[in-house]
Amino acid sequence: MTTIVVAEDDKLISNSLCEALKTAGYNPVPAYDGEEAVAKCKEAVPNLVLLDIMMPKLDGISVLWELKANPSTANLPVIVLTNIGDVETISKIVEAGAVDYLLKSDQSVDDIIQKVKDVLARNVRLA
C-alpha cells in the first residue's frame, strides 16, 4: 500500500486530509510537528510526504533540509501544503527541494489527491 506522511500540526486539517487519502486508497501517517515528521519519514518509509510549513519544533523548510541531508529520505518526493503564499517562502520551498507546493485554501481534496497521483506516477517513471 502507498504510504503518505501527512505533516500538519492543525489536527482538524490533518484529520480531514487523512480521511480523504484513506478514501482514495492510500495509507496516511499523520505527524503533528516538524520533528515527528522527520522521524515518521525515516520510520514509515513512505512513498510521498505532504508537508505543512508553519509547524511547532521544526518548520517545514527545516524538515525539507533534514530529509535532503539523510540518504534514506533524500529522494523522497515532498509536496508542500501551506497557506503562506509569499514569494520569499515559495522560493525557499523550491530551493529546499520540494517537488511542488499547493496553497491549502485554493485546493479541493480532489486537487490534492490528483497532485499526489501525478507526483507518484512521475516518480515511478523516474525510478
Partner: protein
C-alpha cells in the same frame, strides 16, 4: 456857570459813551479778527488732515518706502508752493534713488543744486560724506529749460526716519527768495512724521508676526527648509537638522540637504520641477536613518504672485508606516487563522459527499461521524474567532454591555477548570484550583466565564509540562477579589509583558508555532475593564512560567 458845569458833565458823559463805544467796537473787531484767524487755522488743519488721510489711504499697508514718499511728495502741491519737490532714498547696497518732480520749469543747474543740498544734508545727519556708488535718477513733470537763469533761492530738507533709521530725504525748492518759513516746514514735517510713525508701527507688527511665524517653524516637529530663487538656504528648523543628522550648533547648508538625501531623492531637480510646474510635488517613502519621511516640495509665492523660492516639508511618517505594517500583519494572520478551519470544513465535507456518493457500497458510519466531528470543531473554532473579533470591535466602539448580578466567583472559576480538565490531561498537565468555598461578587457571569476560559486555554497552550494553578483570593484591603492563573510554561520576556493585552501583538514573537490571534487577551482586558477591574501578567522571564491575574472590585 451852571450851564457851563452842565455842558462839561454832558461832554464828559458823551466822552464816556464814546470811549465805551470805541472800546467795545475795538474789542469786537479784535474778537472778529481772532475768530477769522482761528477759522483760517482750522480750515488749514482740516485740509491738512484730509491730505494726511488721503496719503494714509494710499499708503495702506505698504512698507515700500519709495512708494510712500512718492505718495507724500505728489500730494504736496495743494499744501505748499514750490518749483521742484524731490526725494532721495538710501538703499542698503549703497545705491541712491533720486526722484524729482518739476512743478515749474527750471534748468539742469537748479536740479544739480537741489541734489547737492540733499547730499549735504545727508552728510550732516550721518556725519559722513555720502558718495553714492550708483545714483538712479528720475525727473518728472515740466520740461527743463537751460536758457532760463534760475537757481535755488529758498528750500528746505526733511529727513525721513522710519523705525529710528534714516531712510531718505524730502526736498522742496523754489527760485523765489524767502518762500519757506517754519510753517511750511512744519506742514511737511507733520505729514512725513505721521506717515513714518504709521510705517514704524506696521513694521513692529510685522516683526512681531514674523517672530511668531519663526517660533512656529522652529517648534515644528516636521522639518522645514526654504530656498530662494538662487537656491540659497533661507529658512530651516531644528527638526530638519535632526532628520539629516546634523548635530550641534553648526548651521545647516544646502550641501547637507543635498548630500543627506543623495541616492534617495534628487532634491535639487525636484525643487526646480516644483518651481517650473508651479505646483507642489509629493515624494513618498524617503528613508533617512531609521525614519520614514514624506517630502512635500512647494513653490513659495507672495500674494502678488512674485516667486520667493521653494520650500520642502519633511514629514515623519515612521509611526504611520509601522502601524500600517502591523495592521497588514494582523490581517494576514487573521486570514490565516480563518482559512485553517475553513480548509478543514471544506475538505471534510468533500470527503463526506464522496462517501455518500459511494453509499451503495454502504456508508461507513464511524468515518462519517469522525468527519462530522471535524466539521463541527472547525466551525466552532471559526465561530470563536469571529466572536472574538466582534467583541474587540464592540470594546473599541465602547459598546460593551454587561449583565451585572451577584454570583459566586469560585463556582464560575471551578466550572471553567472542569471544562478544561480534558484538554490539560491530554497534554499531561495538572490543573489545580486553590480557592475558598464561596465568594459572592457582582459580575457578568457569561463574560467572566469567557475571561477564565481564555486564561486557562492560554495556559494550556503555552505549557508543555508541569502544572497550572488557578488561585482565588480577596485582596489584603478587602476591596477587590483577585483570580490568578499560574502556569509553568514558556513565560514572557519583560519587554513583552506590557504588550500582551494589545491588539496586533500576538505573532510578533519569533515562535509562530503556537497559533493564536492573541485576541482572547484583548477581549479579556475589555471585559475586566468594563467591570472596573484590572488585568495584568507577571513572569520571571522566558521559560519561567507566567501568571495572569484579574481583579474585580468588591461592592
Amino acid at each position: 456857570m451852571i450851564l457851563n458845569i452842565l455842558l462839561i458833565i454832558d461832554f464828559v458823559m458823551l466822552a464816556v459813551v464814546l470811549i465805551g463805544y470805541i472800546f467795545t467796537s475795538m474789542r469786537e473787531r479784535k474778537f472778529l479778527r481772532q475768530e477769522a484767524n482761528q477759522s483760517l487755522e482750522l480750515q488749514q488743519k482740516v485740509y491738512q488732515a484730509q491730505v494726511l488721510k488721503e496719503i494714509n489711504d494710499r499708503i495702506g499697508y505698504s512698507l515700500d518706502t519709495a512708494k510712500i514718499i512718492d505718495i507724500i511728495t505728489s500730494s504736496l502741491g495743494s499744501l505748499l508752493d514750490y518749483d521742484t519737490v524731490s526725494y532721495m532714498l538710501l538703499h542698503d547696497d549703497g545705491s541712491v534713488l533720486f526722484k524729482c518732480h518739476v512743478e515749474r520749469t527750471v534748468n539742469h543747474e537748479f536740479i544739480r543744486q537741489v541734489k547737492d543740498k540733499m547730499l549735504q544734508s545727508f552728510a550732516a545727519i550721518l556725519d559722513s560724506d555720502v558718495r553714492p556708488q550708483k545714483l538712479d535718477e528720475s525727473i518728472t513733470g515740466n520740461i527743463l529749460n537751460d536758457s532760463l537763469n534760475v537757481s535755488v533761492a529758498s528750500f528746505f530738507n526733511l529727513p525721513v526716519v522710519i523705525s529710528g533709521r534714516l531712510v531718505g530725504m524730502i526736498n522742496v525748492a523754489s527760485a523765489a527768495k524767502g518762500r519757506y518759513g517754519e510753517e511750511q516746514a512744519s506742514i511737511l514735517y507733520t505729514i512725513t512724521n505721521q506717515a513714518a510713525t504709521a510705517v514704524s508701527k506696521l513694521q513692529t507688527v510685522l516683526e512681531n508676526e514674523k517672530g511668531k511665524l519663526s517660533a512656529v517653524i522652529y517648534s515644528l516637529t516636521d522639518g522645514v527648509i526654504m530656498v530662494d530663487t538662487a537656491n540659497r538656504l533661507m529658512v530651516y528648523n531644528p527638526a530638519v537638522k535632526t532628520m539629516l543628522g546634523v548635530s550641534g550648533e553648526r548651521a545647516l547648508s544646502m550641501f547637507d540637504i543635498v548630500d543627506g538625501l543623495a541616492g534617495k531623492v534628487d532634491i535639487r531637480t525636484k525643487m526646480e520641477q516644483a518651481a517650473a510646474e508651479d505646483k507642489p510635488i509629493l515624494i513618498n517613502e524617503v528613508y533617512l536613518k531609521d525614519k520614514a519621511l514624506e517630502l512635500t516640495v512647494s513653490p513659495v509665492k507672495i500674494s502678488t504672485g512674485e516667486r520667493l523660492g521653494v520650500s520642502v516639508l519633511f514629514h515623519d511618517v515612521t509611526t504611520e508606516k509601522t502601524l500600517e505594517k502591523t495592521r497588514q500583519e494582523f490581517t494576514a494572520m487573521m486570514v490565516h487563522e480563518l482559512r485553517a478551519p475553513l480548509t478543514a470544513v471544506r475538505w471534510s465535507s468533500e470527503s463526506l459527499l464522496k462517501n455518500m456518493a459511494a453509499a451503495a457500497a454502504g456508508v461507513d458510519t464511524a468515518k462519517v461521524k469522525d468527519t462530522a466531528v471535524t466539521i463541527e470543531t472547525a466551525s466552532n473554532n471559526m465561530l470563536e474567532l469571529v466572536n472574538d473579533l466582534l467583541d474587540v470591535a464592540k470594546i473599541e466602539a465602547g459598546k460593551f454591555e454587561l449583565n451585572m448580578q451577584m454570583y459566586d466567583l469560585v463556582e464560575v472559576v471551578k466550572d471553567q477548570v472542569k471544562a478544561f480538565t480534558p484538554q490539560a490531561e491530554a497534554k499531561h498537565l495538572a490543573l489545580n484550583v486553590a480557592a475558598p468555598d464561596k465568594f459572592m461578587v457582582k459580575f457578568d457571569r457569561v463574560r467572566i466565564s469567557q475571561v477564565m476560559g481564555n486564561l486557562i486555554s492560554n495556559a494550556i497552550k503555552y505549557t508543555d509540562s508541569g502544572e497550572i494553578t488557578v488561585n482565588v483570593a480577596a485582596d489584603a484591603d478587602k476591596k477587590a477579589e483577585t483570580v490568578g492563573v499560574k502556569d509553568s510554561g514558556i513565560g514572557v520576556s519583560h519587554e513583552d509583558l506590557g504588550q500582551l493585552f494589545s491588539k496586533f501583538k500576538q505573532l510578533q514573537s519569533g515562535d509562530r508555532s503556537r497559533k493564536g490571534t492573541g485576541l482572547g487577551l484583548v477581549v479579556s482586558k475589555g471585559i475586566i475593564e468594563a467591570h472596573n477591574g484590572k488585568i495584568w501578567a507577571e513572569s520571571a522571564g522566558e521559560n519561567l512560567g507566567t501568571t495572569f491575574y484579574f481583579s474585580l472590585p468588591i461592592a
